[in-house]
Amino acid sequence: MTDMIEPVSPDTLANGSAHVRLGSNAGQPLTRADGRLKVTGRATFAADNRPDGMLYAVYVSATIARGRVTHLDVDAAKAHPGVVEVMTPANRPPLARDPDAKPHPFALKVDALQNDRVRYAGQPIALVIAETLEAAAEGAVLLAPAYAAEPARMDEATGEIFATEIAGFGNPALFEKGDVEAGLAAAARRVEARYTTPAQYHNAMEPHAIVAAWEGDRLILDMPTQAPALSTAEFASFFGIPPQNVLVRSPFIGGGFGSKAFATGPYLLAMLAARMVGRPVKMVHRRDQQFGPVGHRGATRQTLRLGAAADGRLTALDHTALSTTSSFDDFLEPAANASHNMYASPAMRMAHQGLRNDVGTPGAMRAPGEATGSAALECAMDEAAEACGMDPLAFRLANYAETDPQTGRPFSSKALRECYTAAAERFGWSGRPLAPRQMRDDEGRLVGWGMGSALFPCPMFEAEARATIHADGTGTVEISASEMGQGALTALAQIAADGLGIDGDRLDFRSGDSSLPNGGIAGGSGHTATAGSAIFTAGADAVRRLAEIAVADEASPLFGASNSGVEARGGRLHRVDDPSRSETYAAILSRAGLSSVTGEGKGARDPAAAESRAMFSHGAVFAEVTVDPDLAQIRVTRLVGAFAAGRIVNPRLATSQLTGGMIWGIGFALHEETVYDPRTGRPMNADFAGYHVPVNADVPSVEALLVEETDRHVNALGIKGVGEIGITGTVGAIANALWHATGVRVRDFPVKMETLLG
């Protein structure tokens, strides 16, 4: 892996801001800026806060899937030593906004004790506030809820199936191109297969946590959030206060994966609790409470129909998904949409239906839609390759999309071919026998190889940043970005230093609280691109202001150069036509009698580029699995991925993101599954002993290669995203390798031993 960490050579930006260069800091494989804090325990997560006078809150989770709460023994709870207050629907202070309202399309309904209804097991139904955590926890037990339960609807037979126009976040649920039935009829080979994926829960290692405090009508929140500045408006709306009255501090997030992007019921209850008792309140979810009101990856049942001509070219691709959501909201895992942009086919149809069950509302979980959808698509492609008697890689190359199959647009860049080549070579794919059950290791265990293609869109959101050059030549860059492990504090600071044309150690990078310029949301793999663009343009703006001063100042060696005739580098401005004529930032500012100059910048997608190009990161993943032939235990002995994702700001961190995503693919393929009781809707494995995620011993060898790719359209910096793509492709690669090892096509995830035992 280390040999892939090559510094990228500096270059000047193609468009705009020609006087600052990206690359002396960005592109370097720096270790994490927050590394020391994190290995010494000094990185402060939300639950680490203990303001004076703080109380502890524990919420009570419903244990039925549907019905009403008929009794809570509030007296018993209050009688417990240390219990200060109990909040139930009967005394819950009012909210300015209905938790069931959807003021904007992305808003999710939340459960904040609006009434006595229970809509899923795990829903908060009361909250206990106490002097100690132990007293609050016991108070919650003593409430001993009684219910009037109604029958749970936990499967297709009992739940309602409904038509939908929207899947995921506002995406159309149906896409049609050409005549799928005709394409299938004309095909020389056809494959039809049904795949299922279960409900999965994000389970970041850091449970949701909040310390809420009111100062008058100002609300101070220590909480992990993927969108610190954006969330203030959301929280403010529930309390009828202006957004600027809410301060969210989120310096470190212990993993989010999509679960820490939105307001949740329990968070609102903690804020209400702090107001109710007039003291700061800390509330941290128990692990089992991570299986309920914080979103999850909804279960899917997907059907794929593929037709291929004798030469292996697809004649039709039909992908339909039934996605499970809650009984009261509409988020549907957009699984079929994963087939929009991967393979060329004259006829395509991607469609979704919804299924209502008594579960919490699902939401975005690392690669929403792409993870589930590509799992099914890549398996089906493998089955089709088999039907055509072709090598899986050759089959995919035969169906390589030169332009975006969905829109017909050219790709902003697409180095997928190079990814296939790099990963296949590193893996040693050539010479793989076509038939299954051909390979054994020297201990007689079955070995199989499989592959899958990876793809993830490159969205950009909106972000703002502020950059300042100080009289001493140092710089400050401010943005309310989110450090949740992807390395924002490192990578964004690298971009920031380049934007200001200074060395990284001269930069003060301020982030992680909502009073700073809005850094947008850390999600959709678009944070580095969006926040990075804002930061870079803010830096360039500050440099431009500085240059204006210098070129107009007769005393400056830069006098007379045009504004774009100077270049910023190492804390100095240089004349482009004569780099020996230069001056430090400090000298320019001191002569001008200024203590600083400040620039501002925004990051967003260029609408013209968005209209003309299809923008995706791509990759290829190859997997080796080893299977005990008698006992059906499985180990993913090798994973090799190669990814092309535009400019890589920090190869060391990007590689970790990618391998992390690939290991999520192992969990998806082999481990992760929520087991609900069909009668009560309770997740019966709502802990880490029952809900398995991979452990260290499950990961003997994972490698991610970075394939060079220059993208002049995706944004000025050429940055795509690496946060989510690793899981796509990997799930299919593992399942396909399992078939190659055993001859068994696995279509239900996670793979269970009994499937292989036959």
């Binding site: 892996m1 470190f252 993993g255 692990r287 290991i663």
Partner: protein
């Protein structure tokens, strides 16, 4: 039932007054003593985020009733590096990018320190993976974690080797009647 505990944490004596015997060692460290470096990921012994050394051995502090640890010596992540110098395990974690969000990291580091003290893995990656499997990392920094522990093992071996050489030299000098 109020009770008073005495704990030595990172070499410092602490007296902890509890109103009742329910708190775990983890909650005493975090919520009473204020050492929040040790994390709570599951509170049920299933993730390893709360790993500390209790009388020199790595344990899950979330399943230790604090009362039962009365009088014990505890080492937490805060006590690992003296005077700002990183422990070899900490340094190796940074260099091998053995974490992302950092939430599991204090537990991983303490577990690795415990594992190296147990001395049963050597530099064998497979034994290290197995020995570190009680520490979940949802960011899945496992390749880096394994590399970091191997790295730290090698460094500590080398340092131990140097110390042994130093001792040998000192002894040599002593034999030759030179001042040490």
């Amino acid at each position: 039932m109020p009770l008073t505990l005495h704990l030595t944490v990172n070499g410092e004596a602490h007296r902890v007054d509890l109103t009742d015997p329910r708190p775990t060692l983890l909650d005493v460290l975090r919520e009473r003593i204020g050492l929040t470096g040790t994390k709570k990921g599951c509170d049920r012994g299933q993730c390893g985020a709360c790993t500390v050394l209790l009388d020199g051995q790595r344990v899950n502090s979330c399943l230790v009733l604090a009362a039962s640890a009365d009088g014990a010596e505890v080492t937490t992540i805060e006590g690992l590096s003296a005077d700002g110098a990183l422990h070899p395990v900490q340094a190796a974690f940074i260099e091998n990018d053995a974490f992302q969000c950092g939430f599991c990291t204090p537990g991983q580091v303490m577990s690795a320190v415990g594992l190296l003290a147990e001395g049963e893995t050597g530099g064998d990656p497979e034994r290290i993976r197995e020995g570190m499997s009680g520490n979940l990392c949802r960011c899945a920094a496992y390749p880096g974690i394994t590399a970091a522990v191997m790295d730290a093992f090698a460094r500590m071996e080398a340092a131990e080797g140097e110390r042994a050489d130093d001792r040998a030299r000192t002894e040599d000098r002593a034999r030759q009647g030179e001042p040490a």
